[in-house]
Symmetry: C2
Subunit: 318 residues, 2 copies
Amino acid sequence: MLKLVERMLAGELPALARLITLVEREAPQTPEVMKEIHPYLGKAHVVGVTGPPGGGKSTLVDRLTQVARGQGLSVGIIAVDPTSPFSGGAVLGDRIRMQRHYLDPGVFIRSMATRGSRGGLPRGVRGVIKLLDAFGKDLILVETVGVGQTELDIVETADTVVVVLVPEAGDAVQTLKAGLMEIASIFVVNKADLPGADRLALEIESMLRLSPADFEWRPPVVITQALNDIGVEEVYRAVEEHRQHLQASGELERRRLQQRREELWQRVEQRLQERLRWLLWAGGLASLTEKVASGELDPYSAAEMIEEKLSRSWPGGG
Amino acid sequence: MLKLVERMLAGELPALARLITLVEREAPQTPEVMKEIHPYLGKAHVVGVTGPPGGGKSTLVDRLTQVARGQGLSVGIIAVDPTSPFSGGAVLGDRIRMQRHYLDPGVFIRSMATRGSRGGLPRGVRGVIKLLDAFGKDLILVETVGVGQTELDIVETADTVVVVLVPEAGDAVQTLKAGLMEIASIFVVNKADLPGADRLALEIESMLRLSPADFEWRPPVVITQALNDIGVEEVYRAVEEHRQHLQASGELERRRLQQRREELWQRVEQRLQERLRWLLWAGGLASLTEKVASGELDPYSAAEMIEEKLSRSWPGGG
């Protein structure tokens, strides 16, 4: 057992922080850490909070944390910044806003940057969630800006997805059509002091009615003013109800199965790609690659030869 | 030897069209076709014409084709439409504009749609280029809208890249900074009757001067009005000079080597991924996958076991 993992499991915060840094950077120790913490996983409820920029997601996360702490739960927060952590004024504001939680040992906060221009969750995010889970966090809030690839990633990563919209964003319905509709477990219409909040809520409700009638879970629409602590407890209750629904319906278990399968697949693919590249570029197949490079052999024939060589001993698949 | 390939190599246009359709759709016959045409490849000069929408790329392609035909060259044109072929007014306009070439047996024109929202060249485009090459086309013009992934793809696919800009696009310099700068073999400032053409040309020149001084090839900046046939011959000459430079410097051969290596890699990767997915989902490794899905085994340990199993017989890499 790794010393650091042992100390983390015993509740030492510096050990947790150190492990997160390792996993986030995909350090060579990552597989060993992941194996060690495996028996301690699966207890945390992972909630994604997503939506267009400027919707007040950070404030909502802050207030949800407060409610959860009031219930005696310990909380982990992962704030995914689309560019780089702490680069913009908003993020700096959030840090100040969350200051009180920084001083609370029952709350662990981490910022991570999205990878590349494509968006998408940072590759290490699932590892960090696992560490927080193994550490004993009851609730893990993952805050992301909902654009493109990120949405798909968050629905594969979180148990419950809260989509936060604001009335002023005239194109909220467009946003929904562009993919946020399908991923939401709960809708929040925040900044309800702005005009149009009720109308937006009605629009969302009517779009939901157009969805297939045999919904196992009909996403509630909660109107909030997170900054003024209005409606936050209702969001919290909706999250809790969704969690109970997931458990009772068996959906939670189905999702976890699928997540683990996908994780295995990604890991196998990544490792084999690395080995394969090495084989083709510098290893035992480099001479074949050079025959293709020189034009002596066509890539399709070479690929077949390589496939045959590599998969000869594969179980039942040769 | 496949009958269709034989007929295509004999110069039959319907056979070429039929093969392109097969390859474009990645039909099961594709590998066989690619193997058959392999000995006939490498003679065509592939020119990518790219840049932001509305720059007059289609008109330039049309006029370059005219010049090339005047020199007795046969031409293939692949127009990559970012959404779907013939969906927009501009594309329809292009078809009318290129009407004369449609009637010329020395010109073969094909539209292809980009895949997905990520942009990027359609996966079949390299196969289509090869078919046109094997068919005996001297010049292959690939017209694309330069956004995101497409730029990276075009530089890996074309021998010469012509970047077309217009003065009215106030953010032309931004576009350059965003990645078109690095990929250009030749710059064209088109629609020079609009104000600001000279200034844009100067801006490009000054950006080029800031580039590393040991450039083997300094991209020329050509000012054109393609619609009025002004400057097109100069672009054509620049393309020809770039081709000669590529050959004399050995750069052409280096690029071809790299392209063939990359093609082999992609082919091997694609095939092994397919087999691997089958193995893990339904084949000889499915029981291991299920152990991971149920949580009995952690994904990292399972991935190592699978890797060990699969690569046991790999040449020099086990």
